[in-house]
């Protein structure tokens, strides 16, 4: 008896821009997760008065987004603009009130001015 031609199972060609990694396993980020920028969430940004700052590091330990870095060499608290959501915890909790909330629109690099969303 001649062997009959049966239907085929589907073949798969997933477009490159829609690929999901094997088993949905992704590499861990190193210093920042650049696939999820959150700086465009904020309407105010924290601005520090380095003179008043006592280097107590409260702001550094209070940020859920790790947007304050303590530069040991320079003995300075440095703000990380790329991810700050403007929650103002650091502003509220600073024991000497040396951080103030400044509107994003006041700044030439204010993220709300960007033409393209992330």
């Amino acid at each position: 008896m001649a062997k009959q031609k049966l239907p085929e199972f589907s073949t798969f060609n997933i477009p490159k821009d829609r690929e999901v990694p094997f088993g949905a396993i992704t590499p861990a980020p190193v210093n920042t997760q650049d696939l999820f920028i959150t700086s465009n969430w904020r309407v105010v940004r924290p601005v520090i008065d380095q003179e008043k700052c006592t280097r107590c590091l409260t702001c550094y330990m209070a940020c859920p987004d790790a947007c304050w870095g303590y530069n040991e060499k320079a003995d300075k608290l440095e703000w990380i603009a790329g991810f700050c959501k403007g929650c103002q915890i650091c502003i509220h909790d600073c024991p000497v009130q040396c951080i103030s909330a400044e509107p994003e629109l006041n700044y030439p690099d204010g993220v709300v001015r960007l033409e393209k969303p992330f």
Binding site: A28, P29, L57, I89
Partner: protein
């Protein structure tokens, strides 16, 4: 045959400068601005260091962190179901143990940490959590407590306070106090019945050095440990997002939350207020309590007073002098 598992020894930190190392929970995650649990995660990850594996049961600290196909964990993480955080962690621990026994893994034994929400700890996750504590696995189980099922839009959980307005316990004519149930007391639930449990402690996001050192201490035991962390949720508790740490502080100052360690049957308390602030100080800033009347607040005060009495009773037991 004795196996050297190469367990880690993490030193306690004296100040914030001592833990100024690379972030293990990096910027770039979809958590709300001012998210208490996110700060919690960051502090835990920092304390634990790079040789860590996190187990993330479904909840805000998985979904919001891991959106979309990218995560902020610089260490390994595996998603678990909200039901089985303790179980998946147990399997990972067993694997590392047997691979070390067989000489197939010769690296440092990782810190294995479950980061479960209150639901994933004492509600749907209760069975797996308890079994893990029972089986003497070297795993740290952390409950980040935001007192609700927050990720699904704020529903009542077994740690939601009496009177809390959640979408499953809305206030109304028939039920003016909204949530009529009192919460499970998580530390006592675990302390009460697990003979292999080595160490239990409570902390909050407003006490970062305390949190760091309790994490490091917990990770130094060769068996199961449990940490209960208060992580206020601006969305769920309805307060301005800049007050997340302040709410945690107020919780301690009013007796809603106490900071202690439990080890070998001995309780050690810190930050015990000389005089407790009235609970209304805590509740007046949170929209989830704004519907409550004086009689409800009185009930809440009575509940907190009972907790405070227990604290005082525990403190009164003298700590045995080491021989």
């Amino acid at each position: 045959m004795k196996v050297d598992y190469k367990f880690q020894k993490l030193e306690p930190a004296k100040n914030f400068k001592a833990i100024n190392k690379a972030e293990m929970y990096v910027p770039g995650h979809r958590t709300c601005a001012g998210c208490g649990p996110a700060l919690n995660y960051r502090l835990v990850a920092k304390a634990a260091g790079p040789d860590t594996i996190f187990i993330g049961p479904t909840g805000c600290m998985y979904v919001a962190n891991a959106s979309y196909l990218c995560t902020p964990y610089a260490v390994s993480l595996i998603h678990a179901q909200i039901t089985n955080g303790g179980a998946v962690a147990s399997g990972i621990e067993a694997a590392f143990k047997v691979l070390a026994q067989k000489g197939k893994y010769t690296g440092v034994f990782p810190n294995i940490i479950v980061m479960a929400g209150d639901g994933g700890t004492v509600d749907i996750g209760l069975q797996a959590m308890s079994a893990m504590l029972y089986r003497n696995h070297k795993v740290l189980f952390i409950c980040y407590d935001n007192e609700s099922y927050a990720n699904t839009g704020i529903q009542v959980s077994p740690t939601s306070p009496y009177g809390a307005n959640t979408t499953f316990t809305p206030p109304g004519k028939e039920i003016p106090e909204a949530n009529v149930l009192f919460p499970k007391y998580v530390p006592e639930l675990v302390i009460g019945g697990h003979p292999a449990l080595k160490y239990v402690a409570t902390t909050t996001i407003a006490h970062p050095l305390d949190l760091t050192n309790k994490v490091r201490k917990a990770l130094s035991f060769e068996g199961p440990t449990f940490l209960h962390m208060l992580a206020p949720c601006p969305k769920g508790w309805k307060f301005d997002e800049k007050l997340s740490r302040e709410m945690a502080k107020l919780a301690v100052e009013t007796g809603m939350w106490s900071l202690f360690e439990w080890e070998n049957g001995v309780y050690k308390y810190t930050n015990v207020p000389k005089t407790y602030k009235p609970i209304s100080e805590y509740m007046k800033n949170q929209g989830r309590f704004s519907h409550l009347k004086a009689e409800h607040i009185a009930k809440m005060q009575a509940f907190v007073d009972e907790r405070i009495a227990k604290v005082k009773a525990n403190i009164a037991i003298p700590i045995a002098t080491p021989r």
